[in-house]
Symmetry: C2
Subunit: 498 residues, 2 copies
């Protein structure tokens, strides 16, 4: 009977959500306050919790309740049906994976990650290669188990961007590449703006003041979250009412805490926008990583690197850092924080070249899963693409294939969500422009209407619908790369006088 | 077969230990960095984890493995036998409690705690009384379920001080009271030392410097733990390699962070002294709260309030706070931090009067469980004892029966462990004096030999033996109050010129 099934389902779903929030807190703590000697035991605590969570997910009683409700959703609200759909999606994936494979993947992730760290220290790809090879073999086995004869890449992508397939992705990224590569060439051909004033050394305590001021102005609720420091900035924590963002302070303003804090704040605002009514349910999450990334890129780039934004905030920054900024003109500052460069490192890339870094990775991942490339071929395949897309030859594998942590952790299919985030962000901004004067609002530091717009249409929807469906509804059209390219063309055309 | 039973037992014990360490981290975070709006969901996460832990503990397969190993420990090491004994102790208690009662206790704890907070705000005992009454009724039911016809107080005490009984405790505390009450009268009759220089305002950043210096000198390993800030100082965290201590900074040096940090450090040093070989086992804990408290009281009082200690550290403190301490003489400083006062508040009490606060609570708890007192009688029963023992009449219930949080949480049987801690600490110091010149070492700020002594005899033993047995072995005699009274008599005789 459906009512009984609902009670069983809801109880277990909430339990699993609690465990997952707890894992979120353990992960945050590991990167922020965990003692060095506490790292190894922490890995054990997390592994135990992850195993327990998996055990609860694959439990047949949970599965029976899900199937009952999935087959007969009469009497369930739209949100409740979505909860069932999302739980079923996760559980179906979990039960397809044999427990020994899950354990092997987790263990190999630790080994590959350790080898990656060592290889980076020695700048020696051969240390990483055999462990990466083993990880890739496991990923093929995992994808085969999940794919049911379908596309292997789809099976992995589905973990990060449910509903998205290579059939949709390929033409989208192909179109983007066709327009982006020549545009990048054009921008890189123009004279370089001055960025020397961004180098500092900028006082770290004042950088913190500046970032906290920005987060507050954006609308981040510090009664429902905080900002701490970690080596690699991220946004995580124990759920929508306890969001943990991190940043890191360098001597330079950019690359540094400034843009990075605004980026994580975009994620944080999304999380805080989940309604209380969805608390402890599968719906209280973004529908996809791409949609999550759209929020971080929106606040970081479309707002945080805009001319009008700095019209308002450069005076604030000047007061904090007169020694570096007193004599920097607004136009020069904006050109500086938007400087485009053919660089090697994805996380330092500007918004014009960024997606070329992703395209390279996506193409390589496809070939890895298709068996056309092995681990040994990676440095060469990597460098070729950087030369072709950016005209840049990595100086070593440190600057090349060894820069990202994702593959060590077995996260294949993750990278495209970064580009989807950029495309979604531009599409949202374009649609938002019909209702709000973004430039005018940013120029006044008045973000409340912008946040309210996003809250209503995106944040408060949780994952009632799949990301792509939700975006189609909000923007009124299927996802393309056009909004992103017109945004780039207009902005950089003006900045670079093209 | 015992080997199979051991594998089952060990796997599950480690899992339960991991869950319990995770609960420790959640608890620490709740008091330090958790967002205000994250408190309610955090309570849910903790409740889910606690319920899961309970489920794993009472699982029959775990019980079978424990019984098999408890009945035939052949081939097990001493430590392994202790692991089984401790797991059995915990599990036997858990299975005796019906699940609905466990849930009622947890829910009533939340309610009683909320009522206590409200009652404190309004200084109105009647707000707390009905919820406390219900909690006391539940505690009687819990004690009856645990006691198997034995003493109800023993059944509750056993959760905090395994092996200890009222039969041992009554004569011990009776003897202490007989000697302590007249001694307190004598000290209170002497002229009061000046404590005005402790009031400050002391700069908080420098107080932090001072406490960190002391913790480092004591031997606390900051690669295996840290000190943060919380309203109520405590020592917790995620296990012996990730110890989380907290302190709080007031404008005054004392009461304030100074002694409180040394106190929590005593707990922290004990935790860090657990050997790696006991990690993730039931043995990697103190055998009792009393023994744990002995370590905090040792470092706080016997070391941290001693004359020779300040001979070394007053110059350090003077450099940090010349405006307050430049003209304070060593003797006056030591008299100030050891000032004895007939006060109302336990947590602010000096080491002479402290145990009278505990005796009052112990006697009241005994009468509550025996049905001789009800919640309504508490304010009167409380105040009577404060008048009798300390000659002090609480000005209101805020200063009286509403000062402690313990009873709201259902922690009856907890208070005596504080006094046991003081008695254990004095007994340890007396025995340590046969091997080391404590005064001389404290006077040089050289704590390594002291810590090594404690590490070898107490910390590294985990809970291989029960607390009282271990202490008997280390000190060579049963626990009495004599060492504590001679410590007090000698120290305060000199300080107060009695």
């Amino acid at each position: 009977m459906a009512t009984e099934a609902w009670v069983t389902f809801e109880t277990r779903m909430r339990e699993i959500e609690d465990l997952s929030a707890t894992l979120g807190l353990l992960g945050w703590d590991e990167q922020t306050y965990c003692s060095p000697k506490g790292r190894a035991p922490r890995a054990q605590h997390s592994a135990t919790l992850a195993a327990l969570t998996h055990e609860r997910i694959v439990d047949p009683a949970y599965g029976d309740a899900i199937e009952t409700l999935a087959n007969d959703g009469a009497g369930l609200s739209e949100a409740q049906r979505a909860m069932v759909r999302l739980a079923k999606h996760d559980r179906d994936r979990s039960v397809k994976l044999p427990a020994p494979l899950v354990r092997e993947l987790r263990e190999q992730a630790s080994r590959a990650n350790a080898a990656w760290e060592e290889a980076r220290k020695a700048d020696d790809f051969s240390i990483w290669q055999p462990e990466l090879e083993r990880m890739l073999a496991l990923k093929v086995r995992q994808a085969e188990a999940l794919a049911d004869g379908g596309d292997l890449y789809d099976a992995l992508l589905d973990a990060f961007e449910p509903g998205m397939t290579v059939e949709q992705l390929d033409p989208l990224l192909e179109g983007l590449r066709a327009d982006l590569v020549p545009f990048v060439q054009k921008v890189l051909g123009a004279p370089k703006p001055d960025t020397s004033f961004l180098k500092g050394p900028y006082d770290k305590a004042r950088q913190e003041q500046l970032t906290l001021r920005l987060l507050r102005d954006f609308g981040f609720d510090f009664a429902a979250g905080r900002q701490d420091i970690s080596t690699h900035p991220f946004c995580g924590g124990a759920g929508p009412r306890d969001v943990r963002m991190t940043t890191r302070y360098y001597e330079s303003l950019e690359p540094g805490a400034l843009l990075s804090s605004m980026h994580e704040c975009g994620h944080g605002l999304y999380e805080q926008g989940m309604p209380d009514t969805y608390a402890r349910t599968t719906v209280a999450h973004a529908p996809s990583l791409g949609l999550h990334e759209s929020q971080s890129r929106f606040w970081e780039n479309i707002i945080g690197r805009s001319h009008r934004f700095w019209e308002h905030y450069l005076p604030v920054a000047r007061e904090l850092f007169p020694e570096h900024l007193a004599r920097v003109e607004l136009d020069d500052f904006v050109r500086g924080v938007n400087a485009v460069e053919a660089g090697a490192i994805r996380v330092d890339a500007d918004e014009v070249t960024y997606n070329l870094h992703i395209l390279a990775r996506y193409e390589i991942e496809r070939e890895l899963l298709a068996g056309k490339l092995g681990a040994a071929d990676l440095p060469e395949a990597w460098n070729q693409r950087y030369i072709a897309y950016l005209g840049y030859t990595p100086k070593s594998d440190l600057e090349g294939v060894m820069q990202d942590i994702h593959w060590s952790w077995g996260e294949l299919g993750y990278f495209p969500t970064y580009t989807l985030g950029n495309l979604y962000a531009a599409a949202l901004a374009e649609r938002m422009g019909q209702d709000l004067d973004l430039d005018e609002l940013a120029g006044r530091g008045d973000f409340a209407p912008i946040l309210a717009w996003l809250r209503e249409r995106i944040h408060s929807q949780g994952s009632i619908r799949e990301g792509d469906d939700l975006m189609r509804e909000v923007t009124g059209r299927p996802l393309g790369h056009e909004a992103f390219m017109s945004y780039l063309t207009a902005k950089y055309g003006e900045l670079y006088g093209l």
